[in-house]
């Protein structure tokens, strides 16, 4: 995955996130969207991979990381229980990264420790948020993007 496509993946996740959890939307719509996004991310990873997917183990969970990022973005537009779902979505991302890294470590790849540590840190930190203002939302999104692109 080239850095440019990697950054584009982040934007794609952001774009997709805006469709989730619209007011009054049915669980069917959200479920279908989630499945559809996952499919979209899979296809994106498959064709965007600079090498074939088969030879680069670190791409194995790439679509799932994108989905987790998408969920993180989508929580900022929630009406209620925002902090709870924000923390849960970040925990999911952390989870995907951590266990993906463990699986890859056993097969001889290096773990992205900084990314996991940063995510764990922000997950823990965001439990202390009392009220998520627009500025705070923006900060969080920038942080996630930074984690995605740079770590």
């Amino acid at each position: 995955m080239t850095p440019l496509l990697n950054a584009f993946a982040c934007l794609l996740a952001l774009g997709c996130a805006s469709f989730l959890w619209r007011k009054g939307s049915s669980p069917y719509r959200n479920g279908a969207l989630l499945a559809g996004f996952l499919l979209l991310f899979s296809v994106f990873t498959y064709f965007g991979a600079s090498d074939t997917v088969v030879t680069d183990p670190s791409l194995e969970h790439y679509p799932f990381r994108m989905l987790a990022l998408c969920l993180c973005f989508s929580t900022t537009s929630l009406g209620i229980y925002r902090r709870r779902y924000l923390v849960l979505a970040q925990a999911l991302w952390c989870w995907v990264e951590l266990f993906g890294a463990i699986a890859l470590y056993y097969r001889g790849c290096d773990a992205a420790c900084v990314r996991i540590a940063a995510l764990a840190g922000i997950t823990f930190g965001s439990t202390f948020l009392s009220q998520i203002s627009r500025e705070m939302e923006f900060c969080l999104m920038v942080f996630w993007m930074a984690v995605w692109v740079f770590f």
Binding site: L34, A35, E60, I102
Partner: protein, 584 residues
């Protein structure tokens, strides 16, 4: 109805029991194992049942934790199905072992008996996670069940649900790591944790839907979730296909394609249709696990599904039905007299309840003033237990990792880093936290009165645990009594010269006792508990003859050498050993 289901279960279970006995006796050659992965049916069944075991805690705990309304009857059914599934999920990994009686070596009992489970192995994580999960699920179920009689217990349900929420996901993640950490080409996949969790959720939902169909009612929320989960699982399978070029068509048909007929109202509204969806999903997911565990199954030249495999399947299916409905009717009687209901049902249509719940929440949400972080009631209850859990887990991780630099430590030859022990951390946290929470509830908050019987049971359990621990620590004989000792070359004549004694000592004894008679610490610590120090006073007090007998016939961990050493050699060795002990 339930009686017939129980009898049907029994009819499946009994032949299955014979298949199980045969499989244990015969070993892994009894069932289908493909030549690549060596595992076969029991592990496929294990993954299947551990997936089903997520139904209860997932639905009950996660819904409770996230504030999604589920009636108590459904929740209790789901939790009970978890416990019963766990029984079978626990049996299969044990019975699939080549040497079943050595199973305890997998448990990381620190370094008791000089046995170190290799904490780097996903199987050890698995073992710990499942044990902790089983204990906590049992505790959660009991709390939930008792909360009807003892309302004070109600406030512990939600904190426990929050404790179980990560644990249930953790268990299945660790199960997926059994596969994802290996070099088997079909098992490549850093995404396996999510994949397995989604699969487990789908199978769990299907099971609970099936069980409540048998009860004669339905929960629309869970049927919807079942459909949605099948879409997501389908997306994951497509990624698997893109990435490995491998697709399990039969699983796709049964678990994804057929359940889509739920969109047809006629089928959806008939009970048979709903039962069919659930059964179809369960079958599809079983096939999927089966092909995942044995990627070569069905390839020409590899053996197919045999009678024993069917027997094992029947054993678990029948056993589940039998145990579940037996427990259900038993609890029903003790709870609510001879009523048909298990738990409460308020009679209102669940969909209406959901709707009103949602609208109430909406209006409530708009006026929601902000909540201080870390201020919820659940958190306050969990604060102390979690702190204890975290500190114990931290100590454990430090203990394991810090063993590394010391020479002579059990892990001296093993590189253990944080990645290796991290998967063990949450089960430790959850276990300690639940223990502290239970103690707090009983003795500090006095939420439940323990009767005399409970105290007696607790004492008996503690004593039994202590006895078991003691037996484990003391261990048994190192060599089996029926071990055949082969004819061995006999050394020399009756008169044993000192060079020969020294050679025999170095060849036979020095491995443990050391060339200089001081122990070869590394070897002993790795393989055996540390034996008695042999100083002159002790040798003399034991006497020459008894030591010769020890050399010839063995004692505790000392192997017998009769047939491999002559008696005169043994005598000479004892004299030599005394001279070593005398040396400064």
């Amino acid at each position: 109805m339930f009686r017939y289901l129980m009898l049907a279960g029994l009819a499946l279970f009994l032949p299955g029991l014979f298949a199980l006995g045969y499989a244990v006796l015969e070993g892994p050659s009894a069932w289908m194992t493909d030549s690549r992965t060596f595992w076969g049916t029991p592990i496929a069944l294990f993954v299947f049942w551990i997936g089903l075991a997520h139904a209860g805690t997932l639905l009950s705990a996660i819904f409770l934790a996230l504030g999604i309304k589920l009636d108590r009857r459904t929740a209790l059914i789901a939790e009970l199905s978890t416990l019963v599934s766990l029984v079978f999920a626990g049996i299969f990994p044990l019975m699939h072992l080549g040497v079943v009686e050595n199973f305890y070596m997998v448990a990381p009992f620190l370094d008791a008996r000089g046995n170190f489970a290799n904490v780097r192995s996903p199987l050890v994580w698995d073992f710990c996670c499942i044990v902790v999960y089983a204990l906590l699920s049992l505790l959660f179920f009991t709390t939930h069940l008792k909360a009807r009689v003892v309302p004070a217990l109600d406030r512990y349900c939600k904190p426990m649900a929050w404790l179980l929420f990560p644990l249930v996901l953790w268990v299945h993640t660790v199960v997926s790591l059994d596969f994802a950490t290996t070099f088997v080409p079909e098992w490549r996949g850093a995404f396996f944790p999510v994949y397995f969790i989604v699969g487990a959720i789908l199978s769990g939902l299907a099971l609970v839907n099936l069980l409540i169909c048998a009860e004669g009612y339905r929960v629309r929320l869970m049927e919807r979730l079942q459909l949605i989960t099948s879409w997501i699982l389908c997306a994951i399978w497509i990624w698997d296909l893109l990435f490995k070029g491998y697709f399990c068509t039969s699983a796709f048909i049964f678990a994804v394609l057929l359940p889509q007929f739920r969109m047809v109202a006629v089928i959806r509204e008939s009970r048979a249709g709903r039962i069919f969806f659930s059964l179809s999903i369960l079958l599809g997911l079983f096939l999927e696990r089966f092909y995942l565990v044995s990627p070569l199954a069905g390839v020409p030249g590899e053996p197919g599904f045999g009678l024993v495999d069917l027997g094992l399947l029947a054993f678990s299916l029948g056993g589940f039905m039998m145990l579940f409905y037996a427990a259900r009717s038993l609890l029903n009687e003790s709870m609510e007299g001879a009523g048909t209901y298990f738990g409460e049902v308020d009679g209102s249509d669940m969909a209406n309840v959901e709707e009103s719940e949602r609208s109430r929440e909406k209006t409530h949400g708009l006026t929601l003033s902000y909540i201080q972080p870390w201020s919820s009631e659940e958190y306050k209850t969990l604060r102390l237990p979690l702190a204890c859990g975290f500190s114990v887990a931290l100590l454990f991780v430090l203990w394991v990792c810090a063993q590394l630099p010391f020479v002579g430590s059990p892990y001296e030859n093993v590189e253990v880093i944080l990645v290796n022990v991290l998967p063990l951390s949450y089960p430790v946290i959850a276990f300690v936290a639940a223990l502290v929470l239970a103690c707090k509830a009983v003795w500090v908050d006095k939420a439940v009165e323990l009767g005399r019987n409970s105290y007696v049971a607790l004492a008996v359990a503690l004593v039994a645990l202590a006895v078991l621990a003691g037996m484990f620590y003391a261990g048994g004989a190192a060599s089996r009594p029926d071990a055949v000792i082969a004819e061995a070359p006999q050394y020399g004549s009756e008169i044993v010269d000192s060079a020969h004694v020294q050679f025999v000592w170095n060849a036979r004894c020095a491995q443990c006792h050391g060339v200089d008679g001081r122990f070869n610490d590394k070897f002993i610590r790795e393989y055996y508990p540390v034996p008695q120090k042999l100083d002159v006073a002790r040798i003399d007090s034991l006497g020459l003859d008894s030591l010769v007998n020890v050399v010839l016939d063995g004692r505790v961990n000392m192997n017998p050498y009769r047939g491999r050493l002559t008696e005169s050699e043994a005598r000479a060795l004892v004299v030599y050993m005394r001279s070593l002990a005398e040396a400064p």
